[in-house]
Structure formats: structure tokens, C-alpha cells
């Protein structure tokens, strides 16, 4: 299928507004559950969308002929999205997963038009009687990465290629540095906002700039493999994003936080089949398996052991990441001794912890 999102980027939506992703679904018997997926990127992005598609394939593996899955890739986060979602519902898809933050309002609107269809929106916060939201606690993986960085970094300064200043990214930076400081209390984190989720050239430039400023471990909150390739060239270490990127940088990737949507997708399909589907807000982390750490490489055994212990600690609840005392960059207390931030405070986080260098763009 052609990549319309990129056409839009090139030409402005106006020129190609008429172009619409094609959906081809053969006629099916009534007892087959049809499940639809709306993807932001191409299935082959080897990152965010790729992992969602792995989840879709898990459904196919588990249910075989009982379900029929359809996906539409490269759907822009615009008014077009609602049409694509509604189109899937009109074609008889009973359960539809919309897998990007920007599909939030289009999903809610489509859900009003199709009250008998179940919708699952990833990374949003608007619920309805037939709309659930789900998201992974990516920050847990960042904390594990931070612990590794704290033990591996010689300069005590790590770098973070951030995409845009939203809570999702900010909590990732904070968790990373908290993990790093749990082993090296004076560690620092420098960051660059690249203002994109996917632009290999820009991401690579940011990686170079951070390394030039003395960061000897860098992690990225963007989707391409370009930063890892820069780490490898410059002989430093870093992490993969969303998926195991080891083969792109066999000498540089320490581990990666891998989004594992499969178990959740399988469960929700089962719920629809059983008639037990209910609107819910799911925020799963390492414990529920929605987030996994890729195999540990390029680090000494004691670091592997510490990383694994951290992972277990988060799973068992022994390690609580956003637990007081927490101070922001100016030293103002955000939480006192032993007080744990609730999910609401985490998901609306707009401050950086002490030790992060640089201001958030206002």
C-alpha cells in the first residue's frame, strides 16, 4: 500500500485529500469476529507500528479462523482518521484498535456513530461506554535503562533524545535519571527536543550533539534506528526504542524497552467473544507484560544482574519509581519522604527532576 502520510507531508494535505487508504476484506461468515487496526506508521517502521502489528499477529495465532483481522497503515492523525475508523466499523468490524494518541477524538466521534462496536484507543485519556484506553508504563523501562546507564557511564552524564515536551516524554526522562541516580547520586541528564517522532537525520544529529557534550550513554524517545547507528560509530552505548533493535547496532545496544501488546489484544478479543467486554483504562507495565526488556547485551555481568534485579523489583512493587522525596530542577519538593505519586500526577507530569540539565521549551 502506498504511503499517504508521507505524501501529505510533502505536499500539504490539500493535494492528496482525495486519496484514501484502501480496505480490502473478503466476505465472511457471520460467526467470525472481525477486528480492525488503525496504524499511524507503516507496518515496516520497525518501531511503534511494527510492535502493534506483532500484537495483531498474536491474535491471528491464538484465534485462527475464528477472527479476521484487517489493518490500515499510514493513517494521518487528521479528520481522515475518523473516516477510516468509521469505515472499518461500517464494514462490520466489532472491535477496533486505534493505535496512536492523535486518534483520540476521531475514535470518540466514531464510537458515538457506532454504539455497538467496541473501540480500544492507545495512549489517550478519553473514555466512553464503548471506548477503552490502554497504554504501557514506558517509564518503568526507562528506570531500568537508567540503572544500567548509572553503572556503565564513566562521565556520569547521559543523553536523552526527546521528541516533544509532553508528559509521556517528561516522565521517561525523569524515570531515567532517577534510575541513574539510584546508583550514581551525582549523575546528570542532558536532553535535546527534536520535535518529531521520526526523522532519522535529525535524530542522528541530536545523538552527535549530545555525544559531543560528553554524554557517553544516550537513549532516545524517537522511533528510528539512526541514533543507535550513531552510538555504534562513536563507540558509545545506548538503548533501542519500542522494539529490539540489536541487529541495527550489535555493539551499541544495551537493551530496549519493548512494547508487547499481544497479551492485551488477545485478552480483549476473548472478552468480546465471551460478551464480557467492558470499557476500561489499562496502564500496564513490566508486571503485566505489556512492557518487556529486550535481552541484555554489551555490559558486564554485574550490570546485567542489577538490571534484572531492578526489573524484578518493579514487577513485585518493591521498587516504586516516583516515590518521595522528589525535587524538581529548582530544588522545589514535588513529593515528601515516602509519598508515592499517583497515576494522575504521573500522567500529567510537566516538571523535570533535579539533575536534568536544560529547560523545557515553553
Amino acid at each position: 500500500m502506498m504511503n499517504r502520510r508521507n505524501f501529505n507531508k510533502l505536499l500539504g494535505a490539500g493535494l492528496v485529500a482525495a486519496a484514501a487508504p484502501k480496505i480490502v476484506t473478503p466476505a465472511l461468515a457471520d460467526d467470525v469476529l472481525k477486528v480492525g487496526f488503525v496504524y499511524f506508521g507503516p507496518v515496516g517502521d520497525f518501531g511503534w507500528t511494527y510492535q502493534h502489528d506483532v500484537g495483531r499477529q498474536d491474535i491471528v495465532k491464538k484465534f485462527g479462523d475464528k477472527v479476521k483481522t484487517t489493518y490500515v497503515e499510514n493513517v494521518p492523525e487528521s479528520a481522515d482518521a475518523e473516516r477510516v475508523i468509521a469505515n472499518l466499523a461500517a464494514k462490520g468490524h466489532k472491535l477496533i484498535f486505534t493505535t496512536s494518541f492523535g486518534y483520540m477524538d476521531p475514535t470518540i466521534k466514531a464510537a458515538k456513530r457506532f454504539p455497538k462496536t467496541y473501540f480500544e484507543h492507545c495512549a489517550g485519556y478519553k473514555l466512553a461506554s464503548n471506548v477503552s484506553v490502554y497504554e504501557a508504563r514506558f517509564y518503568e523501562g526507562r528506570y531500568v535503562q537508567g540503572v544500567i546507564a548509572g553503572m556503565m557511564s564513566k562521565t556520569g552524564v547521559a543523553g536523552y533524545i526527546a521528541s516533544i515536551p509532553i508528559p509521556e516524554v517528561i516522565m521517561g526522562m525523569n524515570a531515567f535519571l532517577l534510575g541513574m541516580r539510584s546508583v550514581n547520586p551525582t549523575a546528570k541528564l542532558k536532553f535535546i527536543m527534536v520535535n518529531t517522532w521520526y526523522d532519522p537525520g535529525k535524530e542522528g544529529d541530536a545523538a552527535k550533539a549530545l555525544i559531543d557534550q560528553g554524554c557517553d550513554i544516550v537513549t532516545q524517545h524517537t522511533d528510528s534506528t539512526a541514533p543507535l547507528q550513531v552510538y555504534a560509530q562513536r563507540g558509545i552505548k545506548g538503548f533501542g526504542e519500542a522494539t529490539d533493535m540489536l541487529k541495527f547496532a550489535p555493539t551499541a545496544q544495551l537493551t530496549a524497552s519493548v512494547n508487547n501488546w499481544g497479551p492485551y489484544y488477545v485478552k480483549r478479543v476473548q472478552d468480546v467473544i465471551d460478551g464480557t467486554w467492558k470499557s476500561a483504562n489499562t496502564w500496564g507495565g513490566l508486571a503485566s507484560g505489556m512492557l518487556e526488556m529486550a535481552p541484555y547485551h554489551n555490559m558486564p555481568d554485574n550490570v546485567v544482574a542489577a538490571a534484572k534485579a531492578t526489573e524484578e523489583g518493579i514487577k513485585s512493587g518493591k521498587i516504586v519509581i516516583f516515590k518521595g522525596p522528589l525535587k524538581d530542577q529548582k530544588g522545589i519538593a514535588k513529593s515528601t519522604e515516602g509519598v508515592v505519586l499517583d497515576d494522575g500526577s504521573i500522567s500529567s507530569m510537566d516538571w523535570l527532576v533535579e539533575g536534568v540539565v536544560g529547560d523545557l521549551p515553553k
Partner: protein, 308 residues
């Protein structure tokens, strides 16, 4: 500052390295497009050609293990696209801009379609020369790692300038571009000359694309180009159809692109959206400052539809 950090020195260094690294695809595409436009035709399809070049270079380099073979094939694929553009434009009453847009969409779509299986494999990259051996600083060494294609581009720019001014071929190209009637009267076929010029422009754009997939960022994926092909076409007008100016314009654009991340890394976060837009702001500024309503754009080929 710790000893491994170079602080503010990172900014000029990043601009220098960015000028070289980011400019290379701009340089190749704009040099090729300059030749095409000199013949009196504009090819907007080079974005598609660039992406086709990137995809085919990556595929060939992966299959054969030779990045240079990939560069060559990218050029040949670009030539085919250029000939396609020229061929369609040879038909009567065909608008070259519309054909260009159609070919841009076609090339991009075809490359994504054919390139699906190439996202995951790793192809060998083009070599680079290390001019930073004299320095102990890793940062300097990295900035002075200069890729072979850039050096070729830098050599080509003055050669093009000389060839346009001093060779028979350059003269014919300019005649066709300035007045097809005059060219016909002298016995030259404007269509044939434009075919060659557009095919050559396609070749250069294909090679420019191979830089993206085989050197920097050095992988194949659908978001690889961020509009370099179309920007390069604009750079030609900006460069007033002069090959040396194409080089300077590409360098300027590349350096300005590196400004955003470099400034952020030393702690300048105020107005970072503006820094990221620096190359575009700069282009606009120079265009406005250098434009004049009193005379025809200097150096513009007379037959070019956008300047007529």
C-alpha cells in the same frame, strides 16, 4: 564542564559537520536540476527520484555487498525517471510542472512499495575519509569524517561551471534554455537536448538519494527523506542557476539545519522551534534580500516556465 565535553565549541563544530553531512543530497540534486533547468525545463519529480535512488541503492548494496554499485544503479534508476519526465514532456501541450508532481508521487509510492522488504536488512555503507587524524578530540575527528560523495560533489560544482561557460555542450544547453527558436534555427533539437539534460538531472538526484540510504542516516525506511528533493529544486532558483552557488546554498542549508540540536545541547532552549526552522527562515530572508522587481532574475533560462 567535564573533560570529555567541549561545551560551546560544539556549536561551530556541529554547524561545520552538519554543513558537510546534510548538504550532500542537496548538492547532488541541485546540481542535476540546475542542468535540467538550464535546458529550459523544470523537473519537480526529483523528490520521487531521490527516494527511488535511495531505495535502489540500498537494495543493490545489500544484494551485492558493494555500495558503489548501489550508487551507480541509483543513478541509472534516476536516469530512467528523468527520461520518463522528458519523454512525457516531449508530447505537445504537456505541462512540465504537472508531470513533475505526478512523477514525485509515483516515485515515492513505488519506492515504498518495492522497498518493503529492505527495511530490516543491513546494507554496507559508503566509505568516508578521516581528515581529523591530527586531533585527539573525538568530537573533532567525528566532525572531520568526510564522506566520499561530498568530495565528488564539491569537485563537480566548479567543473559544471567551467563546462557551462566554456564547452560546446554548455553552449548548446544554454541556447536551448534561452530560446528554443534560436536553437532550432541553428539545427539543434530542443527536445533531444532537454531529454539528455533531464536524464542527467535524474542521474544526479538518484545518486543524491543513495547518500541518504548508504551514508547518512544510512538505512532504508519510508521516512528517510524529509523533502530534500523538493527543497533542492528550490535551492537551484535560490542559487540563480549557478553551480558554485548551488554548492554554497547547500552548505548554508546544511549548516543551518544542524543549528537547532547543537544549540540545545549547550543549554539554549529558548525559541527552539525557531532554531529548527532556521534553514527555511534563512532561505526566505536571502530570497527577499536578493530579489528585485526591476529586472529579470539574473541567470534564469528564458524558456523556463516558472520565470517566463
Amino acid at each position: 564542564m567535564d573533560e570529555t565535553s567541549i561545551g560551546w565549541w560544539g556549536v561551530p563544530l556541529a554547524i561545520f559537520a552538519g554543513a558537510i553531512r546534510i548538504s550532500t543530497p542537496f548538492l547532488f540534486v541541485s546540481l542535476g536540476e540546475m542542468v535540467t533547468e538550464k535546458s529550459g525545463r523544470i523537473n519537480l519529480g526529483l523528490e520521487g527520484t531521490l527516494i527511488m535512488g535511495a531505495m535502489s541503492a540500498y537494495g543493490i548494496a545489500y544484494l551485492t555487498g558493494s555500495p558503489w554499485l548501489g550508487v551507480l544503479v541509483a543513478g541509472l534508476v534516476g536516469t530512467i525517471f528523468g527520461m520518463l519526465h522528458a519523454g512525457i514532456c516531449s508530447l505537445p501541450k504537456v505541462n512540465d510542472i504537472a508531470v513533475g508532481i505526478a512523477l514525485m508521487l509515483f516515485g515515492t509510492g513505488l519506492a515504498f512499495y518495492l522497498g518493503k522488504p529492505l527495511v530490516q536488512p543491513q546494507a554496507p555503507n559508503l566509505p568516508s575519509f578521516n581528515f581529523g587524524w591530527w586531533s585527539d578530540l573525538q568530537q573533532v575527528q567525528s566532525a572531520l569524517k568526510i564522506n566520499a560523495l561530498f568530495i565528488i560533489g564539491v569537485v563537480l560544482a566548479p567543473v559544471f561551471l567551467w563546462a557551462l561557460r566554456n564547452t560546446r555542450w554548455g553552449l548548446i544547453l544554454r541556447i536551448v534554455g534561452d530560446s528554443s527558436d534560436a536553437a532550432r534555427a541553428m539545427g539543434y533539437s530542443p527536445l533531444a537536448v532537454r531529454l539528455v539534460a533531464t536524464a542527467f538531472g535524474g542521474f544526479m538526484a538518484g545518486v543524491g538519494g543513495s547518500f541518504l540510504s548508504l551514508y547518512y542516516p544510512g538505512s532504508w525506511n519510508e521516512g528517510l527523506s524529509s523533502g530534500q528533493g523538493i527543497t533542492a529544486v528550490a535551492l537551484v532558483i535560490f542559487a540563480r542557476w549557478n553551480p558554485m552557488n548551488c554548492l554554497w546554498a547547500s552548505l548554508l542549508f546544511g549548516g543551518a539545519s544542524a543549528l537547532g540540536p547543537a544549540l540545545q545541547s549547550v543549554g539554549v532552549t529558548q525559541g527552539y522551534y525557531l532554531f529548527n526552522a532556521a534553514p527555511y527562515v534563512l532561505t526566505l530572508l536571502i530570497l527577499i534580500l536578493s530579489s528585485s522587481s526591476h529586472r529579470h532574475i539574473a541567470g534564469a533560462p528564458g524558456e523556463l516556465s516558472v520565470t517566463r
